[in-house]
């Protein structure tokens, strides 16, 4: 399989190259990360409902809408992306697309475990460590291909992610940040020092070779670069970004598989906040409720390293 080990590239290239492969009908694996941050919408996200545009504009965060599913994500150089494009007539592609996730996410799970994190798959497509989500993933039919995307989180800006999403009010935003922090984790939470990205990429590539066969390293050729350039204009164009998408009467934000923070109406007419988790809904009078609930995983220290975490292997 063709393998594009692109390291740090322009933010728009981190989406446009795999879309380009798909539209060209070319199979391949891409590993990369953006050199500057951006916000990425899923195919069916509604920009006006999901994103605080003025927040993004003030911070110079560009927007792009991808053709795969999933929700709004903040993406920056503290993540490593792995993107697999397969032709739809490839016999290795299962009829039920979600079934490939286990194979597709295995390399990333191995990388986390290599550094001592007890990572595992939470079906259909979350990687979790100690119950907390440590990756994002999505897939979709693009052109005559199917694209699968995932990432490894070195670190994550929870302030920024909770800030860019449009929410009913400051209490909801505060709860959002707390719930995200409680249900997500990154390498920075577990390791005293982050491994070099090149080492993580090499480990990922080795994992993909194991799962999908030998990789042939390539550089983006003129055809691929031209198609990616064409797609940049489309995927960042105003009419595409402003496509009408999924709208809900009340705000509902997915944090992880089976975990949602929701705006909830009371019979009195007032709005409240509820956390839906594992099929159970809990109304939150404020975010302190989240800390009082013994069921929740412990909050990791924001932005700091856990002193008792295992050291990275050489």
């Amino acid at each position: 399989m063709d393998f594009y080990d692109l390291a740090g590239i322009d933010w728009w290239s981190t989406q446009c190259y795999y879309h380009a492969l798909a539209y060209l009908g070319r199979e391949g694996l891409i590993i990369c990360y953006p050199t500057s941050p951006y916000v990425c919408l899923g195919l069916h996200d509604d920009l006006e409902q999901e994103i605080d545009r003025s927040y993004c504009e003030v911070r110079g965060l560009p927007l792009l809408r991808r053709e795969t599913g999933g929700g709004v994500v903040y993406l920056d150089s503290n993540q490593i992306f792995f993107q697999l494009v397969l032709r739809r007539d490839n016999p290795a592609l299962p009829l039920r697309r979600q079934r490939l996730y286990e194979k597709f996410l295995k390399p990333a799970i191995k990388v986390y475990r290599l550094y001592g994190l007890p990572a595992e798959l939470r079906e259909p497509a979350d990687i979790v460590v100690g119950g907390s989500k440590c990756s994002g993933s999505a897939s979709g039919d693009v052109g005559e291909c199917v694209a699968y995307t995932g990432n490894i989180l070195l670190d994550f800006d929870f302030d920024l992610m909770s800030g860019l999403l449009r929410v009913p009010g400051p209490d909801f935003r505060a709860c959002l940040k707390t719930v995200m922090r409680q249900h997500m984790t990154t390498l920075a939470d577990w390791l005293p020092e982050l491994p070099p990205r090149s080492r993580l990429s090499a480990a990922l590539a080795a994992g993909f070779a194991e799962e999908f066969g030998p990789l042939t390293q390539r550089l983006p050729d003129e055809e691929l670069r031209a198609e990616a350039g064409r797609l940049q204009a489309r995927l960042t164009g105003q009419s595409w970004l402003h496509l009408l998408g999924r709208r809900r009467l009340q705000r509902k934000i997915k944090i992880a598989e089976g975990v949602y923070l929701m705006e909830r109406s009371h019979t009195s007419g007032e709005s409240g906040i509820a956390l839906l988790r594992g099929g159970r809904m809990a109304s939150l009078s404020d975010c302190l409720d989240l800390l009082a609930d013994g069921d929740l995983p412990p909050i990791h220290n924001t932005g700091s390293r856990r002193p008792d975490a295992l050291p990275a292997e050489a």
Partner: protein
């Protein structure tokens, strides 16, 4: 997984992308079959072509999102969309819960009646499902 799990009504036509088609005086109603909605997964959102759209057989004119996948909706016949199931906007799960009833997708005024001849009979569609079930068993052994 067994064939008899998947209802295949005798009064409909089908295609290999798991759509059902119900003709009615120059128009057809289109939906996803029981087997098709199972393959798609729990439907979270549908982008259906608006009324007035000219759709072409096999060409993507809408999209469906389920779980962690997004795919195109490609009608099995060509024509103009005359009605869209707007109930699915609020409750896309209707596709999964009642694929042959409340989960219908669009109504199309046909531009080429002969395309109906290319669709599968219930018997032929059952054979198609059996092929897919065999394929899924082989996939499960590999994955």
């Amino acid at each position: 997984m067994q064939l008899d799990k998947w209802l295949v009504p005798e009064d409909l036509h089908y295609d290999r992308k798991d759509y059902w088609v119900q003709p009615a005086a120059g128009e057809v109603v289109i939906g996803l079959t029981a087997y098709g909605q199972s393959v798609a997964g729990d439907v979270l959102y549908l982008e259906l072509p608006p009324v007035g759209t000219l759709v072409r057989r096999g060409e993507v004119s809408g999209s469906i999102e389920s779980g962690k996948w997004v795919g195109g909706l490609a009608p099995p016949v060509s024509g103009m969309v005359v009605e869209v199931n707007s109930d699915l906007e609020a409750d896309p799960a209707g596709v999964n819960q009642d694929p042959y009833g409340a989960g219908w997708l669009i109504k199309v005024k046909l531009t080429d009646l002969s395309e109906l001849d290319d669709l599968l009979s219930p018997g032929a569609y059952r054979e198609w499902i059996e092929e897919q079930i065999r394929r899924e068993r082989e996939e499960a052994a590999v994955l």
